[in-house]
Amino acid sequence: MSQQTAMAEGGFWRDTGKTGIGAWIFSTDHKRIGLMYLYCVLGFFLVGAFLGLLIRLELMAPGPTIMTAQTYNAMFTVHGVVMIFLFIIPGIPASFGNLVLPIQLGARDVAFPRVNLFSWWLYAIGAIIVLISLFTGGGAPDTGWTFYVPFSARTTTNVSLAVFGVFVLGFSSILTGINFITTIHRMRAPGMTWTRIPLFAWSLYATAWVQVLATPIIAITLLLVVTERILGLGLFDPTRGGDPVMYQHMFWIYSHPAVYIMILPGMGVISDIIPVFSRKPIFGYKMIAFSSLAIAAAGSAVWGHHMYTSGMSDLGVLVFSFLTFIVAIPSAIKVFNWVSTMYKGSISLEAPMLFALSFILLFSIGGLSGLILGAASTDIHVHDTHFVVGHFHYVMFGGTGFAFFAAAHYWLPKYFGRRYKEKPAIVGWVFMFIGFNILYFTMQVLGMEGMPRRYYDYLPEFARLNFVATVGSWILLTGVAIVVWNLWRGLFTGEPFTGNPWGGASLEWSIPTPPPTENFEEDPVVTHGPYDFKGVGVP
């Protein structure tokens, strides 16, 4: 491939016995696996974003605009499935986790390199199954990404296959989690105590536990949907004595903790970037590390807040509402600590930092609107409206999505040996940031005014704001296109990137660029913390 010859100074790109695609898809090198994940998740992100654009186009004006109601149902389902299971859950942990984690720990690879490759294969196979399900059987699933019974048990669309694909993806997620936990416990370099682990690695540790402990529940829940459809077990069918609300409980026991699989790694990225670009040690290292674990733990006990309107007992609603508010505490600790880190810092506003800063703002808006949903009284008003859609896009796209691009601008030059152009990166960021807020803030207002989510058509009074939101989606996607194009072009043909231009103090900046296959010539001995910038060259 011409890509490889374009890569500056070899490193792990060159050093291989095999050639061609086999050197990648059969490689157990964590860096190659990380890059393969990266290409896949980025591809699916663009597919999902395109579907999102189509959804917004349909909602641009009342009545049928560009598609039928059935297509619209399939469209938001596929958008959700692709974005959740193929982009945002594996997004940062599987791609950047694989690229960065072993090097940050001073290891030559993850604990189980072959299992790691197997995880990627499972991811690829699961993704292919999901894609096949869109075009075969009764057509693309139209249930929403939550696959709620009883509709998912009855619809004639291809739900069984899609659900099975997600099951395989879950397996991949579990194996990645097991691998990371074992790696962090067993593979740290001498001197790398628990309080010298970079915060990105800490966040991956918390994430991995959630992956390991929550994913099996969705595995069994999805199996139940399949058996319900194929064998007619009737476990969720009220006419047969089953209870559909049980499905919602089991689904959200996984899927709410999964929200933290999505956001925790993003928080880790931000915790690594903010101190480097502020030239200051992170404020409250231990609290940030601890709050990751606290979020993972508390976030596992709040699933019921998705079901306030489903007929839970009042006591249940009260308890889940209380627990939901508790999750806000560790999240707020992180936000305050990032802001405190910047205080009196020497801030340099380069692309990774801009994405990191916008992460803090957008995540805060998303988190605070989450409190409105967490309080049962206000949730009853905005439940299943566009307010919810706006809220979770603020957290997932404004949070994790922006963190993903922050990580891409921060770490990828290290692995490619080349860097993107700074100006287009900033222009793209400006478009993304403005378009994002126009799109999703408008959605929140729409929800407050009562526009339900997932509806194909709406009342004329919502027309103006829907038009505004659709225009926002164009600006946002223009920004995404500029950013992705600039990254892609820059990483393959851009200026050489050598040494430690950002001035990072964690281990990945101490090795050659791009890293050699074995990462370290000899196993490093860690003598200082990851945010101890004394003696690290200022760029």
Binding site: D109, A219, L224, L231
Partner: protein, 199 residues
């Protein structure tokens, strides 16, 4: 820690984490069981009486014996007794086949009596009974799949022992497969009283 030396502690740690996920997988079914038991205690009791206690008890003994044989094989390989290890592993796989055979007899007898998922007899009966048998088939079916996977893993391990890829010094793979087999046994130890012995 360099990757060049084999980290058997790490391998066991990974296996234990995986076993946790398996427990949680079955945990999902047991949650459903507990909720529906509270809702339909009478029907669950009646359903339990229709299951064959002899088949269930025999299978419990078979699985417990197989776990004993598997555990002994780990001790055997650590003393370097290759032949003994192979014999014990074959015994384990043999028990797995006996278990599956009895399960087959049991299921076909039930099918013969018109008790199977979505059967007209169950749909006509009280809702709780249908739920009980749905859960019964789901849980034992899922467990059966795990027995098959375990038997395949055991056979593969036996081949590795035969080729001496698993030997007196490097035997963490055998230990991990045995741990998996103990999990299969453990899950059955919960299934047996919950479905067969329920009053």
């Amino acid at each position: 820690m360099s990757h060049l030396e084999k980290d058997s502690f790490g391998a066991k740690l990974g296996m234990w984490l995986f076993l946790f996920t398996e427990m949680l997988l079955f945990g999902g079914v047991f949650i459903l069981y507990s909720v529906y038991l509270t809702r339909y205690p009478k029907e669950f009791g009646l359903g339990g009486h229709q299951l064959d206690l002899v088949y269930g008890a025999t299978n419990t003994v078979v699985l417990l014996s197989s776990s004993l044989l598997a555990a002994m094989s780990v001790t055997a390989i650590k003393t370097g007794a290759k032949k003994l290890t192979l014999g014990l592993l074959s015994g384990t796989v043999g028990c797995a086949f006996i278990f599956l055979g009895i399960k087959y007899l049991e299921w076909s007898a039930k099918f013969h009596h018109g008790i199977y998922p979505n059967a007209p007899k169950l749909i006509a009966g009280p809702p709780g009974e249908s739920i009980f048998f749905s859960l019964y088939y789901l849980t034992t079916g899922l467990h059966g799949i795990h027995v098959i996977v375990g038997a395949v893993l055991m056979s593969w391990t036996a081949v590795m022992v035969h080729k001496e890829r698993i030997n007196v010094t490097d035997n963490v793979t055998l230990e991990n497969v045995t741990l998996y087999w103990h999990l299969v046994d453990l899950v059955w130890i919960f299934i047996f009283p919950l479905y067969y012995l329920i009053l």
